[in-house]
Subunit: 451 residues, 2 copies
Amino acid sequence: MDTKITLTEKEMPTAWYNIQADLPEPMPPLLHPGTKEPTRLPPPLFADELNTQEFSTERYIDIPEEIQEIYKLWRPTPLYRAYRLEKALDTPANIYYKYEGVSPAGSHKLNTATAQAYYNKKEGIKRLATETGAGQWGSALALGCQFFGLELKVYMVKISYEQKPYRRIMMETWGANCVASPSEDTEIGRKILKEDPECTGSLGMAISEAIEDAFSRDDTHYALGSVVNHVLLHQTVIGQEAMKQVEKADAYPDIIIGCIGGGSNFAGVYLPFVKDKISGKKPNLQIINVEPEACPTVTKGPYTWDYGDVAGMAPICLMNTLGHTFVPPPVHAGGLRYHGMAPIICHLHKLGFVEARAVYQIPTFEAAIQFARTEGIIPAPEPAHAIKVMIDEALKCKESGEKKNILLALSGHGHFDLGSYEKYLSGELEDYEYPKEKVEEALKHLPQVPA
Amino acid sequence: MDTKITLTEKEMPTAWYNIQADLPEPMPPLLHPGTKEPTRLPPPLFADELNTQEFSTERYIDIPEEIQEIYKLWRPTPLYRAYRLEKALDTPANIYYKYEGVSPAGSHKLNTATAQAYYNKKEGIKRLATETGAGQWGSALALGCQFFGLELKVYMVKISYEQKPYRRIMMETWGANCVASPSEDTEIGRKILKEDPECTGSLGMAISEAIEDAFSRDDTHYALGSVVNHVLLHQTVIGQEAMKQVEKADAYPDIIIGCIGGGSNFAGVYLPFVKDKISGKKPNLQIINVEPEACPTVTKGPYTWDYGDVAGMAPICLMNTLGHTFVPPPVHAGGLRYHGMAPIICHLHKLGFVEARAVYQIPTFEAAIQFARTEGIIPAPEPAHAIKVMIDEALKCKESGEKKNILLALSGHGHFDLGSYEKYLSGELEDYEYPKEKVEEALKHLPQVPA
């Protein structure tokens, strides 16, 4: 059989799949951070169509042709059969991975970046503002905005801005304006710098700057790279393609495994499959959300109301959370260092349709190296967490003799994360226990929400 | 029509195409650097099968199944139609590009690295030694060796080793041992370091160390990433795929454009097409080899006998050369800084089947940015030279109204070359004139070859 199960461009999905149409219990509302009343996403920050998608219960939402045309620059993405890894593990399991690293930005993020740029452009917006940590989201949005002639201002956490110049240059190559956050360009940035000129920044600060920027200009909106419903919706192109691919391979998965930070890549892969579990068609389908032991939101965090952002300016949502003031240890998977989790994932977790597992960073890199040496692709540290669990599951199959189909969500390559590989290879990589006391402290600061 | 013209794995070529079967005049011999008599590649350094391929006149050489299986990890590679660039240029030309950056090593180099590792393994060799400049070849061979369980020692030019740590880490991730050259691991390295402990190295020194390493151990062979016939042979998988793809698109090219450093990627693309020009089937096919103005081997160098390497240890070949002692200015396209050129390309150039053009570095990066902002992919600086000429040709079509089919060889992505993009974007990129006097000096040191 083929190593890659591919689709033609004609087989690409023409609509996004909306899980909200098939949930046995509807999604809880978002609450306004001030009034604590149910709210939309703040209209001065988001295009109307994105706000509509956020709460829609239509099962399918058409993908505009302009977006489909751009998706064809990298989609449909390949589904690989991991023959060489299976052989190295000597497992009877059939391992498949859906690889989003073929996008020019190197990850799944471009699927929603393109859609968000499109809808904002269509509604007359000239400019977007966003934040980025390690730069994965900022670079994807830079290209998304370039496709539609939108300006982009990216507030990049200063320590990353200095340590990861390549991601910044990528954004500039695609025409975005990227500044180190805290910056002199916003009131909040200037205030922080006045108090601490040496401040190296945080994702929370960068979010605050980007939101202030978008609020302060009529021609500017804000853009989010994960967590919210409309972002997960856009990522369902991945899972719909994967569904067709496993059908071609006659290999409907027994287990689907992916990493979750905000959750958009993995939800994008499994939402079209979880439908089959909800409907009872595939009752035994196992879906494993993998997170770092250092930031174990779903495995250890309570399911409760919390702010989406560190500053407490974003809507409050019902989700698993480690507390919005919690700052996780500096694991190398920057994309998995978020205190909360996509409400859709938490809702499915609470209803029992998906499970979660936490892994340590060092065995994660060990798994990543084994993957790179057999399959060739060097994975980003984020999906390497899922690779660790995937290898564990494949080895369980070896013990039990079960020939399970395992589907892995491989969200992107690690070309800009090789510094972390060097730390691992030189034996300098540290690991981090679950920071229980810090979480307990952070959980004291949850918002008070009326029953 | 589709944005990507794709092939299935079943449509992949099962044999390499050997141009030596179809040349109107046979290739001139290689000469021994000492005796100046016709010679094979030095047998202690190369697998027998590779040496046989070097001089074969069989039209097709079967690709062993083990190699085909590995090729499927990234092949067949896509042929893109550059709709968005065409629109930006407002050209009637139809632009296609064959993209090798989807390989895990990021370029075409893995096509031959895999084959060389295979044949060496098959002949009982346990270990390879090679040199690398910026790291493109070293990293491809690291993965190639990993696929077949061979050890690899890479001598990486010290200045690159220090300035481009990511390529080194990539090699280590794939299991290779990479040292800065000059190193303490060889006699020649120790000698150089004794004379100049601060020496930053050169490709010539690194080649000398790798060759000494391979000569000094029975279990070790040497491996070359470009220039020689068997490397070009392996790269013809690219052109054979492209031929099928342009047939599917009904778009046989009027012009084929690619960059040449050693020449293996571009020859790999055009050799299956040049056959049609030699046979008279496509007399008007135009094939443009693009090189940097700073190192214009084919456009300015005489067609004469010269050593393949800087040290004068390698066989002497008949080729265009700027003199084996010539050190080109430090243009960012490290892969195009070679004094000579693949003898097959030079032979075809002398016979009038292909032409050459030199371009400057700054307009090259300007073209690369336009490509990145329309097509998404950030090209490596090497193929950016070809993009510059491709845009020039597309604009000529705009003036003349001709609807030509243009095929571009896009050899790899620029993820590890973003430092050069930053220089361009910040206005700090220098350009270099053709160093006429240095070349004239170097040409005084050509080997004396009896008529």
